[in-house]
């Protein structure tokens, strides 16, 4: 199958069951809402080394936020509901509460599972914290040096899908990167998904094994152009000297598939030679998202 003249490999992305939460971060200005969002999503590229994956989902207009201020929607993923809760407490406490003028609200109010966040962070108030209940939601006012940090008592946590991906193969670094950037731009318009790697693109794809006993993962040698002549079964197409991967986490399988589809289309129209996906033979992840199936 092709998009224009770009080959779409007949393969699938292997994705995993995860748990997700959504934070709505607001501040007096776009600048400080974004500062908190960047901080809270820092060092959250891969569950393998960061305990969670997180990214900015969307910028929010003041009419879309609980307090009528500029906001940023952030999604955070981990392998269990309790894991999501722990990461939320750590990251909201260290990255949002510390940021000037911010507040942080739950963005998944209908989720069945709830993670205690404000109800944990409130103790920072050392007894001066104040609880407020409005429209059925409990908020905590924690006194801080520029006024108060307002945080919701509990955040919704729901089942989600992590590890959707596409691999973009191109002639050289610049053309492949341009194709990947175009894909990221297109995928970023889809609500309910994030691309957790730096500006959405990853160059160090991995396989789930290593020759070293202490490591669980190692470089995805099958897609390293410099090893084309060395490794058996190299997947780097003839004429391709660069591969970039885009990893997608989403609130459900359909959203991940939607993002993969628009990403493939944008990459194909912006210089990609071939588009593939990463998988482990189907033996690890619950979801197998077939590239051809997405385009049919």
């Amino acid at each position: 199958m092709n998009i224009d003249s770009v080959e779409i490999v007949d393969t699938f992305a292997e994705a995993f069951e995860m748990w997700a939460s959504r934070m709505i971060i607001t501040a007096d200005s776009d600048r400080w809402a974004m500062a908190a969002a960047r901080s809270v999503t820092g060092f959250a590229t891969s569950i393998i080394g960061c305990k969670c994956e997180a990214g900015i989902e969307a910028k929010l207009d003041p009419t879309q936020t609980p307090d009528g201020r500029p906001g940023i929607s952030v999604l955070l993923f981990s392998t269990s509901a309790s894991g999501v809760g722990k990461r939320l407490v750590e990251r909201v406490g260290q990255c949002v509460m510390t940021c000037p003028t911010t507040a942080c609200y739950d963005g998944l109010p209908d989720a069945d599972e709830r993670a205690a966040v404000g109800s944990q962070l409130r103790y920072f108030g050392d007894g001066y914290q104040i609880s407020k209940v409005v429209a059925g939601k409990r908020l905590w006012r924690i006194p801080v040096m520029d006024g108060e940090f307002l945080v919701e008592d509990a955040f919704g946590v729901q089942p989600a899908v992590g590890g959707g991906n596409i691999l973009i193969l191109g002639q050289d670094n610049s053309s492949t990167l341009a194709a990947a950037e175009a894909a990221v731009t297109a995928m970023s318009d889809i609500e309910g998904v994030i691309l957790p790697f730096p500006d959405g693109i990853v160059r160090s794809g991995s396989k789930p094994s290593s020759k070293y006993k202490s490591l669980f993962v190692s470089t995805n040698d099958a897609y390293c152009p410099s090893l084309r002549g060395v490794v058996d079964g190299s997947q780097v197409a003839e004429g391709a000297d660069c591969v970039y991967e885009i990893v997608i986490d989403g609130l459900d399988e359909k959203l991940v598939g939607d993002a993969m589809r628009v990403g493939m289309q944008a990459a194909a129209q912006n210089g990609a030679m071939q588009i593939s996906a990463g998988n482990y033979g189907g033996g690890l992840g619950k979801y197998q998202i077939n590239l051809h199936g997405l385009l049919e």
Binding site: D28, P66, D67, I130, K132, V133, V134, R141, E148
Partner: protein, 269 residues
């Protein structure tokens, strides 16, 4: 089919009609509802002597007429929606724990005394003791919301423990007297002795007041939670000036004769 009642005979003395609640009429037909007992003065009579009843009891009740002399409407309500087209008497929603009451006109004294949940919305004005505890009670309302678009009388939120009381117009004296926790917001003028004896809780005033001498000034700041509350009031249909969302507030802590953990937040522009 929802239940519709229309006041046909105006009572000369107050009628105590705590049966006017979704909990009490659920599953009853019109004839059975008309036979429900109400107190008329010191006598028990049937509801049908005053109201025309149409439909059967379910989660929604629609009542029309000037119910100024009908007390205890919605008392003990736990769910459903009760709508009054007109005025309503005292003790509206007393002790309610869920559901919603809407009144298009005015209400008498004691709106939602000792309620623990649900929402009461008065589109006109209310009398004294909105959201208060009864005399002798240590605790007033423990949750829920009372929204009054117009004015209210004295002692609103007396000993309230939780919940929200919002007054779109003016309020009388002793707002939040003996308050234990919760939130009171008054967009108009307040009377004297606001927050007297309060232990915890928040009283927000958009007009300047003179705090009691047992309150101490803390700072001027922009509390984000007020924006959340005011957005909520806007969503319920109350007009709230944009400047109240974006402006600063002066915080006074008190009452020092009690725990000194309450606060009055006064709009500063």
């Amino acid at each position: 089919m929802s239940l519709k009642l229309r006041l046909e005979t105006q009572p000369e003395v107050p009628l105590e009609a705590d049966c006017l609640s979704p909990d009490r009429v659920q599953g009853l037909d019109a004839a059975a509802i008309a036979k429900l007992k109400v107190f008329y003065g010191n006598q028990q009579v049937e509801l049908g002597e005053f109201f025309a009843v149409d439909g059967s009891g379910d989660e929604a009740i629609h009542i029309e007429g000037d119910l100024s002399r009908v007390k205890h409407v919605g008392s003990g309500m736990t769910y459903g929606h009760l709508k009054v087209e007109g005025n309503v008497g005292a003790h509206l929603g007393a002790g309610m724990s869920g559901g919603r009451i809407d009144v298009s006109g005015d209400s008498g004294d004691w709106v939602g005394p000792e309620m623990s949940g649900g929402r009461i919305v008065i589109h006109g004005s209310a009398g004294h003791m909105v959201g208060s505890g009864y005399r002798g009670s240590k605790v007033g309302i423990r949750g829920g919301e009372i929204i009054v678009f117009g004015n209210a009388g004295n002692e609103i939120g007396n000993t309230m423990r939780n919940g929200l009381i919002a007054i779109g117009g003016d309020a009388g004296d002793f707002v939040g007297v003996g308050m234990l926790a919760g939130t009171i917001i008054v967009l108009g003028q307040m009377g004297i002795r606001t927050g007297a004896g309060m232990k915890r809780g928040t009283i927000v005033s958009m007009q300047d007041i003179e705090p009691l001498p047992t309150f101490s000034y803390d700072c001027q700041f922009r509390p984000t939670f007020i924006r959340v509350y005011l957005q909520h009031l806007r969503a319920l249909g109350m007009h709230v000036d944009e400047r109240y969302l974006t402006g600063a507030y002066r915080r006074w802590s008190g009452d020092a004769v009690e725990l000194n953990r309450g606060e009055c937040l006064l709009f500063a522009g």
